[in-house]
Amino acid sequence: MTIAPPLAHDDTLVLGTVVPPPPPAPRASSRRRVPRWVPRDRARATAGASVAAQVARLLAAALLALAAYVGIVSDLEHAIAQDQLHRTLSDQLAAGTAPVSEGDVDDVLLPNGAPVAQLTIPQIGLDETVVEGTDSSNLAHGPGHRRDTSLPGQAGVSVVMGRRAAFGGPFARLEELSPGSRFTVVTGQGKQTFEVIGVRYAGDAAPAPTKAGESRLILETARGPAFVPHGVVRVDAELVTETQPRGARYTTFPTLPPSDKELASDTSRAWALVFALQLLVVVAVGAVWTYRRIGPRQAWIAFVPAGLLAFLVVADQAVRLLPNLL
């Protein structure tokens, strides 16, 4: 004899035999994850908060990853670029083809990023190859020589800019130079020795203009906390060895691109950032599709490298929008 007490819910207690549980109630639509007893307006608020939380998480992750790129990956990028530039300049110096003007040995205008000098300041542990051009992209590879000024050691004023924190921060300790300190710059015209006059902020008295036949070098970087620049600091130095003849310059101060000036950002390649973001979106969509349709393992294996690559491309373009002396 089987007695089936009238139990409700899922708990099925029988005597003598097992009664299969009643079929489960039809599940609510997958779109509706909020319990039925939640009022509709509250359900909407809960869903909105969930979406907001997800967006906030993604934004936080993106900002943290961008900070990691600027603080860590950019240093590696700078080190690799410096290694290549140093080799190129060494070869040119050995062959006697290092540039001494704005054109190369074939009288072709030097491209942005071409190595032009080797700057060595042992007091602050600096040994960097200087490139031509001072926009954000060029200063990612190393200190940059402003195109409208003489090369270091040549008659006149030469300006070299460098980053303070990102991409290796080659000029991070520039302010530590004392008046009277000496350092060298090797160019296609030989080894030039400079002596520091002083450190200067905006508004300070500038040294007297150079006379004919004199040479001065101005080193510039950002002032303020690392990654939070709020001004420019300059180190004036005068040549104490023989002044070299000035090479031809085709760029003048009025024709200098705005992105080559102090603390300027480079917006000329914003279109590349748009394409990079599209690539990142495509990779993200592909990852989600693979995760749901094929499997999580396959998604991780296939899209972690692709995602990292896409993010590197995005970060590399986004950093170009930051100040060039950062």
Partner: protein, 247 residues
């Protein structure tokens, strides 16, 4: 796709940035400054912070503004001697060295700066050195450090130790050098230099880490060891009670 792994990677990267930032920002391991060139007076160092106060010069600004960024290969007549360049005193930037202490509000900050007399006269000047937190709270000042008898062309280092610099994170060390009010009829203005450094708040970070670990432990053990209701669902049954079969 879950964002937790990504957040984990990002947090790890942030930790790396946080550890790397002091090296970029502070630059504290500075070599001992040496006096170069003619240095009859040596280093002027004060180890006793004086009461607060900033030494300011009342001389109005008369120096030319900063225009040296533009190339000026001019042929302006001038003397060739190095002390004849424009200006009176040329200074370096601020160099700092932080000596930590076990006391969270202790520690010593050494702040120094180098001054060069660019004139052909003996100059008497003074310097004020101090440090402040990110919010501008003064941590110590040494006012009116005398820089007496600075000979023409002489380079001298002026520095002081500021005691009781706690672990307040970003700090700003600043130095103001006040030259004579006038020199050869030219009114002069003081020169100010500053430098930011990061003193990691290790005690605060340890406290936050301990609180986080405690919260995680309490949450974990509360889930694992919490008493279950009698006859209630067990873990791993999907919330359903087991069937009871009575023969």
């Amino acid at each position: 796709m879950s964002t937790r792994p990504l957040l984990g990677v990002a947090l790890t990267a942030l930790l790396g940035v946080g550890l790397g930032t002091p090296a970029l920002a502070a630059g504290t391991p500075t070599p001992p400054t040496s006096t170069t060139a003619p240095a009859p007076s040596g280093t002027a160092t004060s180890t006793a912070p004086a009461p607060s106060g900033t030494a300011t010069s009342t001389a109005p600004a008369a120096a030319p503004t900063d225009r040296a960024a533009a190339p000026t290969p001019s042929s302006t007549p001038g003397a060739t001697h190095p002390v004849s360049v424009g200006g009176v005193l040329f200074v370096s930037g601020v160099r700092t060295t932080y000596h930590p202490s076990w006391d969270p509000i202790g520690g010593t900050l050494h702040v120094e700066l180098t001054v060069r007399n660019a004139t052909d006269q003996v100059v008497d000047a003074s310097a004020s050195i101090g440090a402040a937190t990110l919010l501008g709270v003064d941590l110590g000042n040494a006012d009116s450090i005398a820089v007496q008898g600075l000979n023409p062309g002489e380079v001298r280092t002026v520095g002081t130790d500021i005691e009781g610099v706690g672990q307040w994170g970003p700090l700003r060390a600043h130095v103001t050098v006040a030259p004579p009010a006038t020199l050869r009829g030219v009114t002069l203005q003081p020169l100010s230099r500053d430098r930011w450094l990061l003193v990691p708040p290790w005690y605060l970070l340890a406290l936050v880490a301990a609180a986080g670990a405690l919260w995680w432990a309490l949450r974990h053990y509360r889930l694992v060891l919490a008493p279950r209701p009698v006859g209630g669902p067990r873990h791993g049954t999907g919330g359903r009670a087991p069937e009871v079969v009575v023969p």
